[in-house]
């Protein structure tokens, strides 16, 4: 069941459950930050509408910089602002930022310890019809391998807004990952959000596995848990909204409790959430794992739900992974 203490959206499994894109939460968070903190500045590379920075731009034109189609310049300009007392948010598609401009981010933002927040939009195959060129599926790996950066992936629009607000209070580089498609609203305003904490959203009395999900796919993980419950299989579902720093303590507890882990992410299975969890557990508590995500392949054009089915990343695939794990355990 959904953990009642976390005040989650109880209507999440209804057919008419509310859906919003996580990028919308980013836009709302920025607008609020604009009001709250005069040092917040926003930069975009010809994508102000689709990265939802328009609201900020309208209200605070002096603190909004349109950089044109030039992501490397955008990153390094932000680096300069960030070492001079400003809190810049750079907004583009994740394939371009931190994709195309990765080395600029590495040198001028992260190694330079500049206080820049990198917002990567249109992540994952959920980007849909635009095709693989615009579906960022390696960006978690690109960012989490950088020393001293924080990597946050909100599961819905409400958490996205909270993550955006929190990131302005962090002194240092942060990567925020957003999704284009409208996805179910899982949390509520009352749900606590704490950076660097894994939260167990779905609890059960006798869990045999834990599904660790990041981003909007958390919804599919929850759906899986509900369906498995009906089949008599108890699992836990946890929201890993912070990939870096990874909440090792909670991870250990969950591994201890269940002895089987499925990771779920709209990203290559190499280098993302699954990789991070495996790196940690291999050293601290080797645990059987299954990995849901892109299996060393690019996506393609299509509606997100069809793509998730094709690349075996939906609730059916997650359920199959859980069962495979349980078979391995016994």
């Amino acid at each position: 069941m959904l953990d009642p203490d976390l005040k989650l959206n109880q209507k999440i499994f209804d057919t008419d459950a509310e859906k919003q894109a996580t990028r919308q939460g980013y836009g709302e968070g920025l607008a609020e930050l604009g009001e709250k903190n005069p040092n917040v500045v926003v930069l975009t590379a010809d994508l102000s509408e689709s990265t939802q920075t328009e609201k900020f731009a309208e209200k605070y034109p002096d603190r909004f910089f349109e950089c044109g189609v030039a992501e490397q310049n955008m990153a390094a300009v932000a680096a300069g602002l960030g070492i001079t007392g400003k809190i810049p948010f750079i907004s583009s598609y994740a394939t371009f930022s931190p994709g195309k401009n990765w080395e600029t981010i590495r040198t001028t933002i992260v190694y330079n310890q500049s206080n820049v927040k990198i917002a990567g939009h249109h992540s994952g195959i959920a980007t849909g019809p635009d095709g693989a060129t615009h579906q960022a599926t390696e960006d978690i790996a690109l960012t989490r391998t950088l020393p001293d950066i924080k990597v946050i992936i909100p599961c819905d629009s409400i958490e996205a807004k909270k993550a955006t607000l929190v990131s302005a209070d962090i002194n240092g580089p942060v990567y925020l990952r957003f999704t284009r498609d409208k996805t179910p609203v899982i949390t509520t305003e009352q749900t606590p959000f704490e950076l660097g904490k894994i939260q167990t959203f779905w609890t059960s009395t006798n869990p045999q596995a834990v599904i660790l999900a990041t981003g909007y796919l958390l919804y599919y993980a929850l759906l899986t848990a509900k369906n498995l419950e009906a089949e008599g299989i108890d699992v836990l579902v946890a929201n890993v909204s912070t990939i870096k720093p990874l909440d090792g303590q909670t991870l250990l507890e969950l591994a201890e409790k269940t002895g089987a882990i499925v990771t779920v992410e709209d990203h290559q299975v190499a280098g993302g959430l699954g990789g991070a969890v495996a790196e940690f557990l291999a050293k601290n508590k080797p645990t059987p794992m299954e990995f849901i995500g892109l299996q060393d392949t690019f996506g393609q054009s299509g509606p997100p739900t069809e793509l998730l089915a094709k690349y075996q990343m939906n609730d059916k695939a997650i359920a199959a992974a859980v069962k495979k794990l349980l078979a391995r355990k016994s």
């Binding site: 490397q72 310049n73 070492i83 001079t84 040198t107 001028t108």
Partner: protein
């Protein structure tokens, strides 16, 4: 604004530039790796900045109203380190740690390792953008400090250089002054053979910049050019400073093979002899 450059001050700057070249040779010899030609060629400009142009406080490198000097082509940092040490940012002795383990003097400059190094640089084409960001922050905060950025000519082959040039032109960044070390060499040879940059002046003009061209090894001329640049309000200004790579050491001058290597013991001795002889000439030239 800095004062006019009277004769005695000019002589003292030229002597300092010569001293800087000697320290540079000694530093590179101890380091055992690093770049020779670019730093020697830029000694006059760095000394002009640290001892005349910049409004700065070596004892308080983080002073928020200081002028910013951004070095985009980080590989010539030895001359920046030498100039910083000479002006009191850290003891001259520390120059011996360049490129050694646990040193604040990284092979390519790292902002948080050494106070006074304004940005982290090395990978080319990233300095102008960072300088723009710093200059934008100045405008937002209504600060009057000037942001200077030194770039190499070779790094104008990087596409991101032109992203930045375009952006500064768009924003009419008049609190930003760019200096190009036009020494015509890069690792693989002469710039015009590797990837021609000319007509460089016209390129900048086409991007809505004001362009000045000067002899970068003439301190008087360079300081005057900075003064002229600061008087241009309607657009950003670039000073194309023609320098001689390896300046001051005959066997290094204009030879691109000296771009990325340090002198060995014998070469250093020869270079130092030359530079010490030059020291005497500075005084007599002004008489």
């Amino acid at each position: 604004m800095f004062e006019d450059l009277y004769e005695e001050k000019l002589i003292s700057l030229e002597e300092k530039a010569n001293k800087a070249r000697q320290l540079l040779i000694e530093t590179l010899l101890t380091a055992g790796s690093g770049h020779s030609a670019g730093p020697l060629g830029m000694a006059d400009i760095f000394i002009a900045f640290y001892f005349h142009i910049l409004n700065h406080r070596p004892e308080n490198p983080g002073w928020e109203d200081r002028d910013r000097l951004i070095l985009s082509n980080g590989h010539i940092c030895p001359i920046r380190y030498v100039s910083m040490a000479m002006s009191g940012y850290f003891p001259l002795e520390e120059l011996k740690t360049l490129r050694k383990i646990n040193s604040r003097l990284q092979g390519h400059p790292h902002r948080t390792s050494l106070p006074g190094v304004e940005t982290t640089s090395g990978p080319l084409g990233e300095g102008i953008s960072q300088a723009i960001g710093i200059a934008l922050a100045a405008k937002l905060d209504k600060k009057t400090y000037q942001t200077y950025c030194i770039t190499s000519d070779g790094e104008h082959q990087e596409g991101n250089t032109w992203e930045a040039v375009m952006f500064a032109g768009k924003l009419k960044m008049n609190n930003l002054t760019l200096i190009i070390d036009r020494n015509n060499i890069q690792i693989d040879g002469f710039t015009e053979n590797v990837m021609p940059l000319e007509p460089l002046k016209e390129k900048y003009e086409a991007f809505n910049w004001a362009v000045l061209e000067v002899d970068g090894n003439n301190i008087k001329v360079f300081v005057d050019a900075i003064k002229e640049a600061l008087a241009i309000y309607e657009k950003p200004t670039v000073i194309i400073a023609h320098t001689i790579p390896g300046k001051g050491v005959d066997f290094m001058e204009k030879d691109f093979h000296w771009h990325g290597k340090p002198p060995n013991q014998q070469e250093a001795k020869k270079a130092l002899n030359e530079l010490r002889t030059l020291q005497g000439r500075i005084q007599s030239e002004h008489q």
